[in-house]
Amino acid sequence: MSAFLTYLLSGLAVGCSFALVASGFVTIHRVTRVVNFTQGTFTVLGGLTAGSMLNRGLPHGAAEAVAVLLAATVGLGVGVVAIGKPGTSPLASLVITLGLGIGAYAVEIVVWGDQPRSFAMLRGATVLAGARIQNQYFLVIGAALLTFGGLGVFFGRSYLGKALTACASNPYAARLAGINVTRMGLLAFALGGGLGGLAGVLVTPLQPVSFDSDVLLATNGFAAAIFGGLVRPSAALAGGLLLGVAESMVAGYLQASYQVEVALALMLAIMVWQARRRTLAVEEPG
């Protein structure tokens, strides 16, 4: 029982980090319908930049803020290239982000080299119900809760959030209402970049990142995000937690080396089940 609780708690903590990465996917896709393949890059950039800033003597807080701002700026830049040209389809934009993500490898290697880097933030660990949880995870959990609470209020309550949602729901009608859909998409990319950077800043102390860490980060984040159809923040949080707990259980009870594969297979099964339910709902209205 205590082993179960241990796995559960550490799984929830890891799940929050997946959810943080997922939040950027959701923010950008919800507004632009683009699956942003540079999302992992924002996270890597955030982590590497924060480390460099700390090395240069910037205090904690300032270093992380610089990293998040840089990631947001890069997000805006990616948005300009990916959706700036009118009439670019979401699929074409996806390919553009894929290309930019690979191009970013070159920049990252030139600036930071090809070895994993990390930095310390919160040190030590706390034992909770038999589970030893690194203190850094409490920061991750807090940030995830704040981020998702904020996104929920932003998209669910604020006028700007509704207008952003309208842009993806029906871009034509949004333009008729006078909304500059491209500009709103760029805002979403900047926000998604910042959220990716925040995830990087918080995750890097737990697992060193290198230029190509974006693949694994994005895979887990995407799997969490797709749980909510890439549009619902709350479902992405649930997806992240579920994925984290599943990986933790597999690692604990079965074999650590299979944890990612088993967890992703579980997500796939859930998605197939959701899609089937949706199809049935369409076929049998009422």
Binding site: Y159, K162, A163, A177, I179
Partner: protein, 222 residues
């Protein structure tokens, strides 16, 4: 209120509108009829600024709002949020003024727009356009896919807006009979050209218009 002069709109090398002249005066209800593919939606999208003219002039005095063909609601948003987003230009986000026109919408304010019936959706679409406080309303295919009784209700609301508030209306319709009944003047658009214009009463008795749009068999009017 609205002046269109020698308007040409092209899609690449294809000419969709070829020298259109059209006017809507303040407080007037004007119909634009024509078959599928005549360029009606191209024209209204150019008036809204979605499409750019190749040449010619569109001048709107005041604000024009479009009720697009097929309603085009924000399906995931509630009725109230659809209306509020419609106020992006006007800035007055309180939907009460639209609920006064469409009391039914107040009852379903929190329902998701995607779950509504066609008639309710069309009401939301008109209401959303009204939220920008327009001086002229361009309604693209009001009646398409709706039951006659629903169309009659919507038409009643449009007439009210025109009569009580002096709102100018440009009604783009495939259903020419409905458009002629409702409007003072009409334009007939075919293959990107205005082929007839005038008072609806006159157009409705023109043999050519009758044959093409009113389903008559070509007998001379009595």
């Amino acid at each position: 209120m609205l002046e269109v002069a020698d308007l040409v709109v092209r899609y690449g090398s294809a000419t969709a509108l070829d020298g259109i002249d059209l006017r809507v005066e303040a407080g007037e209800m004007v119909a634009l009829v024509g078959p599928n593919g005549a360029g009606k939606s191209t024209l209204v999208n150019t008036l809204s600024g979605i499409l750019r003219p190749a040449s010619g002039r569109v001048r709107v005095h005041g604000r024009l709002a479009q009720v697009p063909e097929g309603r085009q609601l924000f399906a995931e948003l509630s009725v109230q949020d659809n209306l509020r987003v419609g106020a992006w230009r006007s800035g007055d986000r309180d939907p009460t003024r639209v609920y006064r026109v469409f009391p039914d919408l107040a009852r379903i304010a929190s329902q998701r727009a995607g779950t509504l019936s066609g008639g309710q959706q069309q009401m939301v679409a008109v209401g959303r356009a009204l939220m920008s406080d327009p001086d002229i309303l361009a309604v693209d295919e009001l009646s398409l896919g709706l039951a006659p009784i629903v169309v009659a209700e919507l038409v009643g609301h449009l007439t009210e807006l025109n009569r009580d508030r002096g709102m100018a209306v440009l009604l783009i319709e495939q259903n020419a009979r409905l458009a002629f009944d409702l409007c003072h003047r009409a334009y007939v658009l075919e293959a990107g050209l205005i082929v007839a214009e005038g008072r609806c009463a006159d157009l409705a008795t023109s043999p050519r218009v009758m044959r093409a749009y009113l389903g008559e068999t070509g007998s001379e009017p009595q």
